[in-house]
Structure formats: structure tokens, C-alpha cells
Symmetry: D2
Subunit: 396 residues, 4 copies
């Protein structure tokens, strides 16, 4: 269903792709340049260095023309060998897809089941790693912010569990919807490979996949036997120093990336995190006011990139989304996998501010009304009041 709304801005509230700033779009519209020129080498070095600051790593960052899915595969192919065992946690649809991908490459996945409503239990990770006396598990795969559920897993706690188990497995983290949204510290947290994509907190169009790589991961890479070519790390690691790519990179995206890194550093990473916390909490206030249920049942594990909302029994979440899109031109994320039709997701990440969030929430509340979904009106004001610090005692 396309929108009947013919005028004014679309409200893009899927949890990725996120809104791309005008400055970034303008930068991207510049002419393509020779990727074997010194100008482009300098640009690549500028961007790998900038992305390293954003990942908070001193190590290299490999950047591919790909999606985040490609960046998952890159992490696996470059560090593991056929038959290797990996430990993963079913935090939601994306964790499941990553697991399926590992299966396809002949890895053996110990997949800790999850209910999609709670974060992983670090104690369970510790238990399983401690039990793995022979250190057969070569890697632990964690999705930091699960984009299908809005649940945030605690990466430092996983690191701690791995250390407590004295286990040498690599720690690989999907930070696709957490980088540029939540605090993220590749080096301090002892992450070996961080996976990311361009189209969420980085405020770029989709089209780039990233791996931030630890020294330990580079060491593992030497022995990794999964066959690979396009996603080989070596030339990309070299590109951090030389700026030279083994094949034609996505040049326009690099032009765009320079601008988005500048914008992120103008705002400051800490401020970005605080802003996302504010946008997300306002959204949750609206949802609670409506009387709808947030999928994530652990408030300490709320992801700030998106909020996944359960619709009441008997309501089709996809029809609701269609109504909202058609009448108010707000794009929302569908429920995926086992929550399909039961959940919709509001993205509030990236180039996003208070008033954009209020607009999006208004579109949803109006759509709930149009679709006849039982709810308590006033969620928009609840969000506004939260932003105004005026949240006590108003009985709406």
C-alpha cells in the first residue's frame, strides 16, 4: 500500500534504513572520482580512521560494498574453518539469520534458545564456555541490539563471562543497530570482530558493510580456512594504511561517509547516545500510555534504536502498518520471523530529533484510531511531556 499523502515529508520510522541528512545526500551527489587517485586514497584513509574512532578501536576497519549481512559473512569467513564450533544466542530474527548463515558455511552452532523478549543471560554463556574444556568453541556470536525485537544484549557482561570461563573463543558482535546509538567500545570491551552496516546509526544510505578487527582476530585469520575471496580481510586491512582497494569500492558512499563522520563528531558520541536514550524513552512513554505492550520485557535491556510493540490479540500488525503508511505516510518496521503480524517496530535512530519522534508517534496514534485498535489516546502528549520534563501527575 502506497501513501495517499501527497505533500510534505515522509516520516521514515523503520529501524533502518534511517533518514540520511541532507548534508550527506548532497555530498553523495558529487561526481565520482578515480578510486586509484591520491585524492581517493586520502579519502579512504580519512574514513577508516574516522570509523575506527567511532568503533573506538585502534585496530583496522574493513569496509565492503555490501549490506550488514555481508559483513556478518565477512566476520565468519575470515576467522573460522569448516566444522568449527560457535556459540550463539537466539535474541531474535537477525541472530537466527546469522546462525543460518553459519550453518551454510559448515560451522556447528550451539544456539542458546531465547524468547525474543529478554536479553541473553551472561551466566549461561559462562556455563557453556566453562563446560567446553577442550576449547572447541572458536567464537561467541552476539547481536548487541537485536533490530527485530528491540532487546539490547550486554556485551561487556559477555566479555566478563568469557574471561571468567578463561575461554579463548573470539567474541564477535553485531553492532549494526547499536553503533552510533548506544555506547560501543570495541577495544575496551574486548570485542574481536564488530560487524556494522551503513544505514542505521551511521546516517548513510545502505551499501557499506564494516568489520572492526582486533589483533586476536587477525591472528585467528591466519589459520581460518573457510573459502573466501570478495570478503577477504587482507587487502581491506591494508587499505587502512594505503587507501587502496582491491576492486572498485562504492565511491559515492565514501564521499557521503566523510560528511556523516563529521556530523557524528560535531555532535559527539556521548551526546549521540544520550539523544537516542531520550528519543527511545519518549516513544516508550507513548506506547505505555496507549496501553500497548513493549516486546522487550526487561527495561534494563531496552534498545534505543527502535521499539517493538505487540498489537492486541485479533489485530493484524501489518494491516495496522499499512493504514498508518497510507493515511499518515509513516513507515514502520514489520514484525519478523516468529512475531510476524503480531509486532510492529518504530525506528528512532540516526538523524532523528524530538520533533521527528513526536510526529512519528502522532502518525501511529492516529493510525491506531483509524484501524480501530483499542488504545488510550494521549500518547503523543505523553511523549511531549516527557521531553518537557513535565511527566508527574498529569492524569491523561
Amino acid at each position: 500500500m502506497a501513501s495517499k499523502v501527497k505533500r510534505g515529508r515522509h516520516f521514515l520510522h523503520v529501524p533502518g534504513p534511517s533518514n540520511v541528512p541532507d548534508r550527506v545526500l548532497a555530498a553523495m551527489s558529487n561526481p565520482v572520482i578515480d578510486h586509484r587517485s591520491q585524492d581517493f586514497f586520502d579519502l579512504v584513509k580519512h574514513i577508516t580512521a574516522g570509523m575506527a574512532r567511532i568503533f573506538r578501536t585502534k585496530g583496522p576497519v574493513a569496509i565492503y560494498p555490501s549490506s550488514g549481512t555481508g559483513a556478518w559473512e565477512t566476520a565468519l569467513l575470515n576467522t573460522l574453518s569448516p566444522g568449527d564450533k560457535v556459540l550463539a544466542f537466539e535474541s531474535g530474527q537477525f541472530a537466527t539469520l546469522w546462525k543460518v548463515m553459519a550453518d551454510k558455511h559448515g560451522l556447528k552452532i550451539d544456539f542458546i534458545p531465547g524468547d525474543w523478549r529478554h536479553p541473553l543471560d551472561p551466566a549461561e554463556i559462562e556455563r557453556r564456555l566453562t563446560a567446553d574444556k577442550g576449547h572447541e568453541i572458536k567464537a561467541v556470536l552476539i547481536v548487541h541490539s537485536e533490530t527485530s525485537t528491540g532487546v539490547l544484549n550486554d556485551v561487556p557482561a559477555v566479555r566478563k563471562a568469557m574471561d571468567a570461563a578463561k575461554h579463548p573463543a573470539l567474541l564477535m558482535v553485531d553492532a549494526i543497530s547499536s553503533l552510533g546509538v548506544h555506547e560501543y567500545r570495541h577495544d575496551d570491551w574486548g570485542v574481536d570482530v564488530t560487524i556494522c552496516g551503513s544505514q542505521k546509526g551511521l546516517m548513510l544510505p545502505p551499501g557499506l558493510g564494516y568489520n572492526a578487527i582486533s589483533a586476536k582476530a587477525l591472528e585467528a585469520h591466519k589459520k581460518a580456512k573457510l573459502p573466501r575471496a570478495y570478503f577477504e580481510w587482507d587487502p581491506m586491512v591494508d587499505a587502512n594504511g594505503t587507501g587502496s582497494y582491491p576492486y572498485t569500492p562504492a565511491i559515492s558512499m565514501f564521499l557521503a561517509s566523510k560528511e556523516s563522520i563529521a556530523m557524528m563528531e560535531e555532535e559527539g558520541l556521548e551526546n549521540i547516545v544520550a539523544r537516542h536514550e531520550r528519543m527511545a524513552e519518549a516513544t516508550r512513554r507513548a506506547v505505555r500510555h496507549w496501553g500497548l505492550e513493549i516486546l522487550c520485557q526487561d527495561p534494563k535491556a531496552y534498545a534505543n534504536a527502535l521499539t517493538a510493540i505487540m498489537v492486541p490479540e485479533g489485530v493484524n500488525a501489518d494491516q495496522l502498518r499499512a493504514t498508518i503508511l497510507e493515511n499518515y505516510d509513516v513507515s514502520l518496521g514489520a514484525g519478523l520471523g516468529k512475531v510476524a503480524g503480531k509486532v510492529f517496530r518504530i525506528g528512532h535512530l540516526g538523524w532523528m530529533n524530538e520533533l521527528m519522534v513526536v510526529g512519528g508517534i502522532a502518525g501511529i496514534e492516529l493510525g491506531l484510531g483509524l484501524a480501530g485498535v483499542k488504545h488510550k489516546a494521549g500518547g503523543v502528549q505523553a511523549a511531549v511531556d516527557y521531553f518537557g520534563g513535565n511527566t508527574a501527575g498529569h492524569g491523561r
Copy 2:
């Protein structure tokens, strides 16, 4: 004061310039072409024809690289002679500025005083014209939608009054903030010169000024002796047929204009008018909920391009606007002329939809709170509820 808000869209709620659609900006960013090429001649003819449909006239449309102010001057210079008498009505600051301009050109203005809070009285127009037995008054100057006050004057009623008085004066109407906002009919309403600018309902950047011209105005033009060159109509009238300009026109604006005309016709002029009515009414609901006073005291004369709001005694409207801009990145219009500091103006015109309006209103409500201006919270929800048709009985 610049905004502290570092991320996400600016909410541009001045009553012009209005938001320019991305499609229009993209069109404008195309390379400049030769203005003496057939391609450009075709473009000019396409645009003059399209603008004639928007003005609802069969006559020519003259388009200048200028602001709306320049288009006022164009109307005067091309139809009047030094010492000519004109009748005008003080609807607000822009009517006053037009009058001052007429003074500078040696015209004698009979300026009917107004309180800036009510529309003109057609009976008064009729009275003065009837009294002008010698037909010394050569033109009646009306601002259709007074951008400084948010008061709409009734153009068809003025026409009727002129007809009743059997007076041959030209009728000149400033439709700068009404074209593409309110119903407007140059031919049916018997307007002789309609003045417009690009940066309001036409969804373009500022930079073009327009005159739609009746046959009677063209007749008057032959005897008009005010000196003019740049703003001479003749070559511009010719350009409607040939596409050829007497000097280098604002080429990029013509590229943009093609796209904005297409967008207006995709939506449909009637739908545009209905949409603006809806945006404006939602805004007024919020204002009333807050307990603030709308400058316009006649609900039948509300302009739908903007709402001018009086701040309570003791509040400086400009400081309030600065607080809102700084903290929520909403641009609002200042009070002008005799309401400076006492009024602020919310623009809700052009490329604007429900959710953009809700966002802007939220920014204002939050700013009222921050600035300590007494108001009843809940205006945002009042606007949302109006959009949802859910406006009865809720006592917020």
C-alpha cells in the same frame, strides 16, 4: 541564537520561505543551460502555462528574478502614472510596505486604516469607490492573505463592491501567501494584477516574483507612465508565447519550478486548499488549548498559511522564539511592525503535512514550558485529536 540541536531535521515554520521538496531541490541542482536555447524556451512556455493554470487565468504571467516585493513594484509601475490615486487597506505590515512603496513612486494612496485583527470591510471599499465620482482612483490594492497577521481578506467581495460601485479601477491582489494555499481565481474573480512570490505555497526557494495580468491591466499598461525598465511587462508577456527572455533569467529556478508545478497538479489545487485548511485548523486548536490568543479576531477570516499568536502581557515574543529555536530547532516568524515583540507566527504552508505540523506545535509547546510562559499543556494532543476527528468532550 542558533540551534543547539545538532541532529535531525530543522522544522521550518516561518510563514515563508516554506520547505522546498526534495524533488524540487534535486531538479534545481541540475546544470544551468543556455537561456537562448530551444530547450529553455520550451521550459519557459511550460512554466508560464503551468503558472497560468495555478493562477486560474487565461492571460499571461510575467515572471521576474525578484522577490514578491519586486512583483508589487512591477504591478504598480506597469499600470499607473505619477500622481495616480489608489485605494488600499491597512491589513498589516505587508499592506503597509506596499503602500510605502506606492508613496515612493509618487502615487496618492487612500489608505483605509485597519487594526490588523480583522479583514477589510467590502462595504467601506464600495463606499469610497462610489464617492469617487470622477474615477480618480485608478487601482484598488488588496493583500489577500496578510502574512504579518494571518488575516484573510475576501477578494470576491471586493470585486463585488467594485462592481456595485460601477468603478473602473484596476483590482490588484497580493496573493503571495495565498496562492497554493487558499482558493484563488484570477479570471473568475476579476482580478487585474495578481502578485506572487515563489517561496510560499509554490514550494520553491525565494527568487521569483510573478504578475498574472488581465486584459484590462494590459490596456491600462499602454498609458502607464511610471518609469520602468527591468520590471517592464512587455517582454515578459511576450515570453509566454516565445519563451525568450530580455535578460538572463533565474535558470535554476525554472528547472525547480517545473517540478513544483508537477507536484501541485499531482495533488490537485482543491486538495491543496483542503489540506491547508486542515493544517491551519489543527494549529488553531493547539493555540486555543494553550489559552493563547490568535491575532485574527474573525474566525471567518483566518488565513491558512500561518497563524499569528499573541503572547501574554510581559512576555517577549522574540525571546520565546529564540528559546524554541535554540532548544527545539523550530523556526517561527517574528511579529512585524506594530506587533513586533507581541506576536509570533507559525507557518503551516507549502510542502507540509499533518505530522510536520504536530512536530512544530510540539516544539512550541515545549518552548512555552522552557520559557515559563503560562499555558495549558496538551496543545499537541489537541491538534492530533483534531486530525483524528476525535475532538468532542475530551477535557484536556
Copy 3:
């Protein structure tokens, strides 16, 4: 006739509008902002200061949404009174149009005839001013680079002549196609008003008109009685200090202008002048090689913005231009006024480099062939050889 060429860049070789750099187009495509915000005030101050450096003046620069024609009128209206006498020189079509404009405003023009092929004679200026014992002549109007003929007038020599005659007239100079092309020094050369437009050496789209204003001109302005409103200097002079405009300025053009000023200062004004000299000389070498005649008969007075070329007897220059456009997608300037059909003009100004010039010349040479115009092939190589410094002895 539109071009049959369907692929690749258009070669825009009219003598204005000139090619707008991609950087400038990208800047112009940014969202429109509030013209009454501090951000915009800062932008205006940045641009008036930058333009003053380009005009090489310490005085104010008035910038209007208009064409260069509007900027001519601005200069006249703000300094003169009805019936004032001015001295002007018929350097070509544009000088003639400026003269006609002055006529329309009731000025009395002493128009020194010219043959369009030679620059003005400063001695004649001196003679006439010396003869004007009563100092009835209030202004001398000079077109620095006559865009219709490619003849450059010597402004410092005019200044010297005026000084020798001890005449107090204002010196007004049209630098529309010389600013950003030839050396230009508003203050050092004692110019009182310099007129410019955005679409030539300044590398912007058309849409802005400029006046650089001396203290003496400001003094004259106080007594100037020509009626004016839109083009009044006072608020524009104030805008140099405050950034505030009396009406909605062409905001997108200001965004673009920031970028073009930056590019001009990155290259350096002296380098810009040297580059234009090089482009122009290469073009003239090609023309001479073809055996065609350059309109300007005085090599010391060649304008470097364009070259006007006479076609052989019996050839229609406009048909030739159509052939070139249709087959090679090169836009060329028509002969204007009394050289219509007999002359075509090659623009080589603005964002232009050696290889663009070679491409344009190639299109012309190929068109000469297609149109059956007698010429000696090899003009392209003559231009290339000139660029390569390899111009001796090759007998082609």
C-alpha cells in the same frame, strides 16, 4: 534546434550563463533556511565580505535577487535624478541597452558612438568632460568587458581621463563579464558603482545582481531623486553589517555563493585572471588558424571572457550555431543587435579549463565542416599547441 547528442556533457560555451561547478550546485541543493535567523545573517555577512574582496573594495556591496540588468538599473536609480546628464560609450549591445534604460528613466545620455570593434578612446572621454564646464554630466557609464563584442574597455584609463578633466562625475562600470575574469579593482581604480551579475565569472546560476558602492556614490545617493523601492540601496548597505534583508532574499543562491567565493579564493584572483587569458588566447589561435576574423580589431582590447567571431559573407551565423548545437552539443552565443546573424560568440569564462576549451573548439571546427563554411582545418590543434607552448613553426 535541440541537440541530437544524447550522451555525455553539454559544452556550455555561451558567454554567460557559465558552467556552475558541481560543488556549487550541491551547496545550492541544501534546504532553504529562515532568512531572519542568525545563521542566515552570518551567511549574508560572509558573502558581502567575500564579494567585497572580489570587487577589491572596502565599501559595501548590495546584492539583489535580479539579473545584471536589474543591477544596472539599481546603479542609476540610486545615484541620479530625472534629467541628469550622463556620458556613455557605445561599446556594443549591452552598452546600448543600458543607454536605452537610462533614457526610460528620463536621463539625458551623451552616447559616444562606437563601431563595436574597438575600445573607447579615453581622450574622447577627457575631451567631453573638459568641455562640460558646468559639470552637468553626473555620471560616466562604462561597460568594462562588452559581452556582445568581446571588446575590453580600459577602466583605469577612463579614470585617468576623468581626473585629467578634473570632472566630478561618478564613474559607473559594468563588470558583468569581467569580474572573476580580468583584473578588477573597484577602489584603486576609483570606480563609484560597479555592476555585476552572478552567472559569469562568479560561477553561479543567474539570479543575483550586485552593486559595489564607493563613498562618493553613497554621498550622491542622498540627493538622488529617481524613484525607486525594490532597488533602494539603503537596506542593502545595512545588510553588509547586519545580514538582514528588507525582503526575502534568494536564499539558495546565498548558499551557492558561499561555495563559489571559497573556490575563487582557493584558486586566487591573480591565477583566475591568468587562466582566463590562457583560455582566451587559445581560442583566438584557433580562430585565426581557421582564417576567420575576430570582431575586436584591437588585440590590446581583447576580452578574455569570450571571443566574438565574424562569419564569412553569405554564411548565417545562427544556422551555423544551430548545426554545432545539434550535432556536437555546444552552445554558443548569438550575434546581438547590429551584428545579429553575422557573428557568433564563444564563451570561455568561469569554471573553465584547457580541455573544456579544446572540446568546445573541436565542436565548432566540426560544425564549420558540416555547415560547409570555408575554413582551414587544424584550429583545434593550434589551440592545443598553444597550451603546450609548442607554437613555433608548425605549418598547419
Copy 4:
């Protein structure tokens, strides 16, 4: 070495990325949209259908966020199993890199040696296939236009040889620098997988990789055991019908692609081929005039996307390229692999016309002079004269 040239267009004459048309860049700068919206599904279907017309196939086209290198890997992974034998021909550096990639995936490559200066010999293909009685060879890999050498291989002749040998191997063709340049017919020529990238004849930025897929290839795919995930065909084949992607696609590139397909079909594929033939031949005329040697020694096998040129003994081709870039802002391709330093490559593909080619050739000739490389001046004119049909008898 960056360019000292500060003004005017860069002349991008690498053989990819090619110049992206302004229309395409403007389309790409539009806001990102939800990739799970009907609007996007419609866009994907529009583009897969359009690309199928360009590949001249009725079968599906898989489009990945990747480079052409990724599209090579996609073709291999989806059709072959570990240990499979493939036959390939060493046409140059890219054929060699593809071979190395196949090695990495455990394929056994029978690599027919080539001297990089001649096209493959279809008889040799036929010989080897005929000898392969057991049909162990599962695929024949051909680079249609070898971008490193400028040699074109004869795909229909390869097909004929395969048919003559009655061999069931798949035919896979790299058309990266031939699609949109030379005639290409996926279906008629019996190609099973055609590989392409966005940044050459398709006039897009780099960032998309393509596979056009025959029914026979889809059949082979069912049994193909090379591990794969990101590059799996199945969901991409489905996307031809549904428009739905398995992961976030490169949305901005799809916006751009719509425009580039439109431009290609406006020109017509036959006209595009004829145009490239013309651009290429003009370039070769210039090279021959200079007295330099074209790498490709078989005139029937000249690629029209680029010309690879050998520099005289003692000249470093990379220093020459640096001189040309620095002084004339022309980007040229380096010699790759075994011709590094000995060859430079002129790209004349994509959004390219006669005058752009003349400009690029002029930059090279001027650079040859500056670098002191022995050559006969006049190559620019030779190219111009070829375009003008005036190529007989001039002894330059």
C-alpha cells in the same frame, strides 16, 4: 599526485568508474525510502526488468550490493561445487584475478595462457572441450572486454566452439566493461551467467554487481555445493518477481539506476554501441598519430570501452599519468599486473561524447609533451578529423 588544476571539470578517463550523468546523481540524492515498502518493491521490479532488457535476456537478473568482483564470485558459488573443473582464458589481469578467485574456492582451472595482446582462439576452446570426453569441465569463463588490455573476446564464437564440441559446460561471461558499450546478447548468445558491475557502461557509481542467469544455470544451481550465503541467488531471483530483498539493498543506487536505464533506452542500445565504436576509433587514430603502440595487436579485437597504450622503452607510464593528472586533470588507468608501468589506459566509455574524448586526448598529448615522451604532435586533430569524416590525405 593531486591535480594543480583548480578550475573546471575533471576529465575522468579511467576505464571505470565512468562519468555519472548529472541526472543520475540528482536521482541518487533523493531521500532513502523503506526497502520493505510497495514503492520500493515496484522500483526493484522496474529495475530488474530494465536490466534484463539491457542484458537482452528473458531470464532473471540478480543484483547485489557489491562490486563486479563480488558478481564474479556470485556466479561461481551458485553454479559450481568444490573440485569442479573450469576452463578459462588468460586475457589479462581481470581474467587472472577471476582465476585466482576460482582457485580460492577449490575449483580446478584449466587456464589457457594468453599474451594479453590477442583475443582468445575459439578453436583452442573447441579443442579442449572436445578432448574433455568425460565432461569434467563444468564451466567456461570468458572475459568479454578485458579492461586491463582493451582486447575484446568473441563470445558468439566461444558459444559456437562449445556447441561444435557438444559440450554441456556452462558459459560464464564477464561483461563488466562491455555491457552498454558493445553489442551484448545474453539469450541469443547462449550465455549462462553474465557478470556485470554498475560503474562502467551502465553510467552508475560503483556499488552494484549483477548476474544475468539462464535456465540452464538455474538448473546447475540446484546441485551447486560451494558454500554461500550473502551471494545466494535464490532470493535475488525471487526479487525479480516480488521486488523484495533478503537484506537491506543499496537503495540510493536503485534510485539512480532507474534514471540510468531510462537514459540508455532513450538513446537506444544500438546507438550506444555505435557511439562507443566512434569514440574508441577516434582515440586509436590519435594514438597511431602519436606513433605510440596500442597493446591490442588484433584490430578486429579492439575493445571500445578503453584503449591500452604502450609507452616507449624507458618511459614510466605511471609517471606520465601523474604528469597528465597534475597538469591537465585527466585521470587515466594504470597498467595492471604484468604490464604495470609499461601501459596506460584511456577510458572512453559510458556517459561520453566526441568533445569529451577530444578533451581527454588533448590532455594526454599535452602531457606527452611535458613529460618529454617522443611522439608526433597532432593526435588531437587526427581525432577531430576522424569525427569530421575528414581523414584522407592529411599528412599530419
